[in-house]
Symmetry: C2
Subunit: 122 residues, 2 copies
DNA sequence: TGCAATACCTCGTCTGTCAATGTATTAAAA
DNA sequence: TTTTAATACATTGACAGACGAGGTATTGCA
């Protein structure tokens, strides 16, 4: 079952940065890798991917260079800049916080332990 | 430290549905409640909130009625429809899946256990 | 009288996603 | 040989959601 991409909106850049943290790579490979890693749950569309590359290169988070493979279609490789490395780590910490927050907010009566809250208003 | 709302995009409706699962409520109260529950980390903006109400009422997930308070500004209360209840539960399950997926994708070398992957290409 | 809190609502802008479409290369199948 | 599939990159235009900025109205307090 595929996950709605809306639920992952905002994590596109982070996912790519974390892939690049494993080593330089290129669009097509990253696309396939994400697909494989997610067991088919997340398919990052090409338009989304290349838009993200463009955006992140402009922001100075990644840099690109053409591959030197003799045969086959040319590949544009991407590499993390120091700023990109930093961003990846920050994003991971943000994710930990977001996860905790959503776990707290998305409880359903009777399906998760209630939390004692005091709301000032009314 | 406030969380980027982009990271929570896609969960606006779910958060509201889960709040309503605790009992009927109205815009201003929900706004304050989310703020309190998140310890100030998530501030749901009014424009976002009322847009969501409108959207979800149109989708038949919630219904509204005017409060009967004698004094003070009038309140428009919202209540979950059966479809809204269902949606809330589905969304929670989706969240569990998304959380697992992001935990897998957002690992950073040396900061999380590596996962053995076999990628077919190259 | 003025201000803050409560309470609701809308418009226009911005950003990210993606369907659709296009290009080029290589290898294998028909 | 021609066609097909896989690899590989790229753009455009439409659409949806978040939100800054602005608006209205009521109540109570300083």
């Amino acid at each position: 079952m595929a996950l709605s991409s809306d639920l992952l909106r905002g994590y596109t850049d982070t996912v790519i940065l974390c892939q690049l943290a494993e080593g330089d790579s290129y669009g097509y490979a990253i696309s396939k890798q994400i697909n494989a890693l997610s067991g088919g749950q997340l398919e990052m569309k090409e338009a989304t991917l290349y838009t993200a590359f463009r955006r992140m290169e402009q922001m100075g988070l990644i840099a690109s260079y053409w591959g030197t493979e003799g045969a086959g279609a040319r590949r544009r490789y991407y590499t993390l800049t120091p700023a990109g490395h930093e961003k990846a780590q920050e994003d991971i910490e943000q994710w930990q916080q977001t996860r905790r927050l959503l776990d707290r907010l998305l409880s359903f009566p009777g399906r998760a332990p209630k939390i004692e809250i005091t709301v000032e208003n009314e």
